[in-house]
Every structure is written in structure tokens, then in C-alpha cells.
Amino acid sequence: MPDEFQADRRAAVAGLLPAVSPVRRLDPAGRLTSDEADYPAPSDTLLTRAYEAMVIGRRLDAQCTALARQGRIAAFPSSLGQEACEVGAALSLRPTDWLFPTYRDSTALITRGVDPLEVLTPVRGYGHCGYDPYATRCAPMATPLATQASHAVGLAVAARRRGEDLVAMVLLGDGATSEGDFHEAVNFAAVFAAPVVFLIQNNQYAISVPLRRQSAAPALAYKGVGYGARSEQVDGNDVLAVLAVLAAAIEHARSGLGPVLVEAHTYRMGPHTSTDDPSRYRDEAETELWRARDPISRLEAYLAGRGLVDVAGTARRAETGAADLRRQVAGEVSVDPASIFDHVYAAPPPSVAQQRSALRAELAEPLSSNGGRP
């Protein structure tokens, strides 16, 4: 092969490869590291916003876990320990951008401004997606893993062709990178040079299965390289690094250079959901190791050292938010059972209309005279 061809290839690969070790700006004690100066530092304003959102997000997350234990809501997938990723993702986006979250991304949605009560609609059991995707520019939380990734690609391409410069960000877990939909979406994004950022929150577990049983890749970030997507890995418990890396990724995507895949190394401190029991598959010692890398205490130490943090005030606001949520969730919701027929089709075909009438008759007259017909 000609030398210049090989040199081109080497340059192309080098432009895609992630850093050898995750990008980090704050060590676990909250001290600035000296490395990775090629990413501009996030502003103090952004960091104080991130701190506030992380504390509030964690408090609401704890509130939701408590509500699930009380049986007020269904099994809740906590993102405890992943606040730097959740908040970092939400704060990196412009209002015109789109977020494609999973079921574990309540904190990202709330940080983006979605009403917490609407975020909880699925686990409250009254509906599926509680918020308006167009008003919030947040897709419904995806439960089937990685299936929302290709939606983000299609939406981003459609928007670009309309001359809009929005970016779509997909949130994924480590387990989702084993799904075919993930690979197809990254490939499509690269082929169409779509303005999409894939953020993998590698929280080390897919329910009970640890990362080493999920993938033999040196890092999940390398999964982007084979598709021609620029890739990076970052300390997912360091919000300075997460914000810096995501800002660059979004800028890259927005400027038409194609998608970026970012792997954030983090840890799911809690169970998969409130019905899970992590003691069956992991050691407490491991959890303790990650507790020492906590994203909030790390940021708090850094900001406190610079006099930029109002710990008591933030905690107070978080408590207020939790109390509001408790009060709201306690309220009863009245939903018309026949509404299950409302949006199956734009206009109900005769068979759907007929079944709706049958249900209405049943509701009007329990054990009624409909002859036992469904």
C-alpha cells in the first residue's frame, strides 16, 4: 500500500480514537488535575448550576426510591451516583436540542426542566410518557434498550435537512452497547454525518451482569471508532470533565463533522430498581470504593475551596423540591379508563370505537347486560 494512503488511514483513526484513560479534571478529593488541558474548562456559572442540579437531582431520586418502597409508585430506577452524567448531559444542550433518554434518566429530564411529576407518570401508573416531547424536546424515556438511538439519528438528519442546527443527544447504559440497535444507530449516524452525541453512562452493571461479562472491549468508547464516529472517554463522576467533553462533542456534531460517542465511567450506587437486590451479585467493598469517588462531594469540595458554593441553601431548596413532590404524588389522579382507546389511531376505526363503547357500558353498569362480551 502506498505510504500516503497508510498515513491518511493513521490520521483518520487517530482523529477518532478516545483518550487512553478517561478524561479527568477533578480528582476524587476535588483538586484540579493537570492533564487534559485540551478541553476548555466549564465556566463557574455552569459549575454552580451543575452543583445545584446534582444536589436537587439526588434528593428527588432518593424521594422517588422512598415513594417506591412505600408503594406510592412502581419500581423506580435510581441514578444515584450518576448525577455528573445526568446533569452534565442536560446542561450541555441548548433549548433547541433534543434529548433521547432511558428509564434511568429522570435526573437528566428534571434538570432539563421537565416537571418531575410528569417524569414520574410511567411509575405512577396513569400513563406512559407524561410530558410533551415537542414542548420539552425530550423523547419519551426508552425502556427497550438502545431502541431510541436510531430515532435520534433520524430526527437529527430531518432537522439538518430543514436547515436547523440542533443536536440530538442519546443516553445509553453499558448494557445497551451490546444491543444491535446501538450499533445500527452509531453506524447510521456516522454514514449520514448526523449531529448526534451518544453518551454511554457505563455504570458497570446491566441489572446484575458486570461489565466484564458484557464486553471485552478495552473501553466501550472504542465501539464508536469502528463505525467512523469520533469517540472519547471521560471520568463520569467528574462533572467538570463531563461538561468539558460534552461541550466539545456537541460542538463537533453541531458543526456538521458527524456524531461523537462518549463513554462516561461511573457507578450505579443503588439497585437496578427498587425491587432489585445488589447484594446477590456485588460486594459492598466495591460500592464503598465508588462512594469515595462521589461526584457531588468532589464538586462541592472544589467549589467550596473557591467560595462558590451555598451548601445549606442548596440543601434547603432540594428539601423543598422533595416535599413538593411528596405532596404532588399523594394527590389522586382521575383518568378516564376509556382513554386507553384515544390515541391508538388518529381516528378510531370502527372496531376500536366499538370496544370503547363496550368498556363505557361496563363502567356505567358493572356486571352489566352486555352479555359477557369483551
Binding site: G127, Y134, P144, S150, G154, L155, A158, V344, Y345, A346
Partner: protein, 369 residues
């Protein structure tokens, strides 16, 4: 991406329009189903610049069946484009485009090659409207060439309609004539709901094999009576319609007057037309290529017996493919319903008031059904 080419004027082809245009474009009277489908896509793209066509090989090649032939040249690479070879990705991409205002018309190359997209279709395409309380609607058309009878190797001949018909939120359409292919595809593209548009590939190259009864352009959900009759209603759709008409013709020679109902859309199901016919004839036979067990025929037989029980002189019978994986091409004619099997089933509709013992004793010796 290249810039969009100027869109051509809508082709002068309309169902029922007579005369061959000076440019030699096939008219509705002489075109094949492939040409009719292509005309529908072309006209829909010209009428609405939100309509985009994509899938595998739909660009330069014009599709493996040539349905999309010429669309890329006419409308440019942003309106008609090839995708990577990944059906889940294709349908997921369509979901995203539809969320942002496009009206994707996707080609999934063959029935069995659509299965990788099944999760996207069932969990997202079908449910998005209900999941979002109607805020996000997905006006997507999934075109799927389906069915057998073309001598293809395995995985190219499945009748997959029951999977889609079973999934609430989807509309399921299948034409049986070139004229209907045009009308139904235009209606599917205009429809606010996602539509699985099943194209019977054995009829792709047919040129009006049967008289096109006047079918006015209408929203989806109306069946058509293809042949009027008094004694029995033969309910069928898609690839089995020409077969049903041939069987009805043969049955006339035996003194049975068979009414043939072409469903055209499986979902929504046109109970009204079917029920009116069966109540009048008093007998019903369902014919389709797909395996019978838990298939469309089971649903149709149940619906008709629920609604027409007191009009029925005989149980509703089904003539379907066997409950086997689609056979190799040299054997497919034994699997697919044929005129003889349909005539055999017609004969078992208790014309002499004697009970049908077929299911007790099996077919009589020499029975060729």
C-alpha cells in the same frame, strides 16, 4: 448530500384515467403493479415535499423490484436515498424523521428481511401515538414485498401479515390490482397513522389480470366486492385475489355463484362489507396464502360467525397455506392454496344439509382438495 432536484410535475396517471400520455408513461389501464406503485410514490413525492423514500437499494438501482426506479434522479438524494443494510436502523431512523415532520416511505426489501425491524415496529412505530397521548404521531409507510409463488429460495416468500395485523396501532394494507396499488399507496402515505403496506410480489408484474371494479379513492378501511354472487362469500386479499376469482369462475361451472370480497385493508377491518355479503349469501370461505393457525383467516372466521351466526348455513371454512415453514420453491405449489382446494372447500359448505365430516374422517379417498 446533493441539493434537491426540482420536483417534476405530477405524472398524468390516475386510476381510471384513459389514454397513453405522449411520453409513453404507462396508464392505469396497462401498467403493472410495480409501475403503479412507482407512480404513486412519484406523485406523492411531488405533491408533498415531506415525503421521503429510503431503504436498501432504492436509490441508483431503483429497488430490487424497481418500484423506486427513477425517484432519486427525479427528486434528489435527500428525498430518495439508500441506507446501510440494517432494518432495525432503517425503521428507527424513520421514526426519528417522522418525529420531526417527515413522512417516510420505507422499503423493507423482503417479508422475512423485515423481521430485524420487528421490535422497532411493535414497540415504537405502533405505540408512539398511544405512549405520548397522541402528541407524537408517526405517519410512516413500511412497504414490504411479501408472499410466495415466485419460485424464490428460502426467506423470500413469507406471508407475514398476521404479525402486523395483531399489533394495535398499525394499519395493514395489501393491494391486489395495479389500480388499487396506486390508490392504496397514496392513501397510506396520506394517512396520519403508521401503515404496513404489504405488496404481493407474485402480482408485481401483472397487468390488470382481472377486471378492476370501480374503487373510489377513499380513506383506508374499505373492502371491495370483486365479483358479485349469491351463494357463498369468498373473503380474501392480496396475492390470493386472482386465485379466488379464478376459483369463482370455475365454481360458476358447477352451479355455485361465488361473491369475492377483496379486503384491501386488513386493519382497519371492513366488517360492514363482509358482514353484508355473508348475511346475504349465508356461507363464507376465507382464502389466504399464509399458514392458517392463528392467522387472518381465524380472525375473519371468528368475526363473521359472531356477527352472522343466524345467517349461516354452514361453518366458515378456511383455505390457507399449511402450518409449515415456507417450503422450497419446487414444492411451493403444494403449500399454496389453489383452485382445486378452494373448490373442494366450497363443496363442503353443507349444500345438502349434511354435516361436514372432513375433520372427523379426513378427506374421502381421491379427494384432491
Amino acid at each position: 448530500m446533493t441539493e434537491t432536484m426540482p420536483a417534476p410535475a405530477p405524472a398524468a396517471v390516475r386510476p381510471g384515467a384513459g389514454g397513453r400520455p405522449p411520453d409513453g408513461t404507462p396508464t392505469s389501464e396497462n401498467r403493472t403493479m410495480v409501475e403503479a406503485l412507482g407512480a404513486a410514490l412519484r406523485d406523492a413525492m411531488a405533491a408533498d415535499d415531506r415525503v421521503v423514500v429510503f431503504g436498501e437499494d432504492v436509490g441508483a438501482l431503483g429497488g430490487v423490484f424497481r418500484v423506486t426506479s427513477g425517484l432519486r434522479d427525479a427528486f434528489g438524494d435527500e428525498r430518495c436515498f439508500d441506507t446501510p443494510l440494517a432494518e432495525a436502523g432503517i425503521v428507527g431512523f424513520a421514526v426519528g424523521m417522522a418525529m420531526y415532520g417527515s413522512r417516510p416511505v420505507v422499503e423493507l426489501q423482503f417479508d422475512a428481511f423485515a423481521y430485524p425491524a420487528f421490535e422497532q415496529i411493535v414497540s415504537h412505530v405502533a405505540k408512539m401515538s398511544a405512549r405520548t397521548a397522541g402528541r407524537v404521531r408517526l405517519p410512516i409507510v413500511l412497504r414490504i414485498p411479501y408472499g410466495g409463488g415466485i419460485g424464490a429460495v428460502e426467506h423470500h416468500s413469507d406471508s407475514s401479515e398476521a404479525y402486523y395485523a395483531h399489533t394495535a396501532g398499525l394499519k395493514v394494507v395489501t393491494p391486489s390490482t395495479p389500480a388499487d396499488a396506486y390508490v392504496l399507496l397514496r392513501a397510506a402515505i396520506d394517512d396520519p397513522d403508521p401503515v404496513v403496506f404489504l405488496e404481493p410480489k407474485r402480482l408485481y408484474w401483472n397487468r390488470s389480470p382481472q377486471p378492476d371494479v370501480d374503487v373510489p379513492p377513499a380513506p383506508l378501511g374499505r373492502a371491495a366486492v370483486r365479483r358479485a354472487g349469491q351463494d357463498v362469500t369468498l373473503i380474501t386479499y392480496g396475492p390470493a385475489v386472482p386465485l379466488a376469482l379464478a376459483a369463482a369462475q370455475a365454481a360458476a361451472g358447477r352451479g355455485w355463484s361465488v361473491e369475492v370480497v377483496d379486503l384491501r385493508t386488513l386493519v382497519p377491518f371492513d366488517d360492514e362489507t363482509v358482514v353484508a355479503s355473508v348475511r346475504r349469501t349465508g356461507r363464507a370461505l376465507v382464502v389466504h396464502e399464509a399458514s392458517g393457525f392463528a392467522g387472518m383467516g381465524a380472525e375473519i372466521a371468528a368475526r363473521v360467525s359472531e356477527r352472522c351466526f343466524h345467517s349461516l348455513a354452514a361453518p366458515i371454512l378456511r383455505v390457507t397455506g399449511f402450518d409449515v415453514p415456507y417450503p422450497p420453491p419446487k414444492l411451493e405449489q403444494h403449500h399454496l392454496p389453489g383452485v382445486a382446494r378452494i373448490l373442494g372447500a366450497l363443496g363442503r359448505l353443507q349444500w345438502d344439509d349434511q354435516p361436514d365430516t372432513y375433520w372427523l374422517a379426513g378427506p374421502p379417498p381421491g379427494d384432491r382438495r
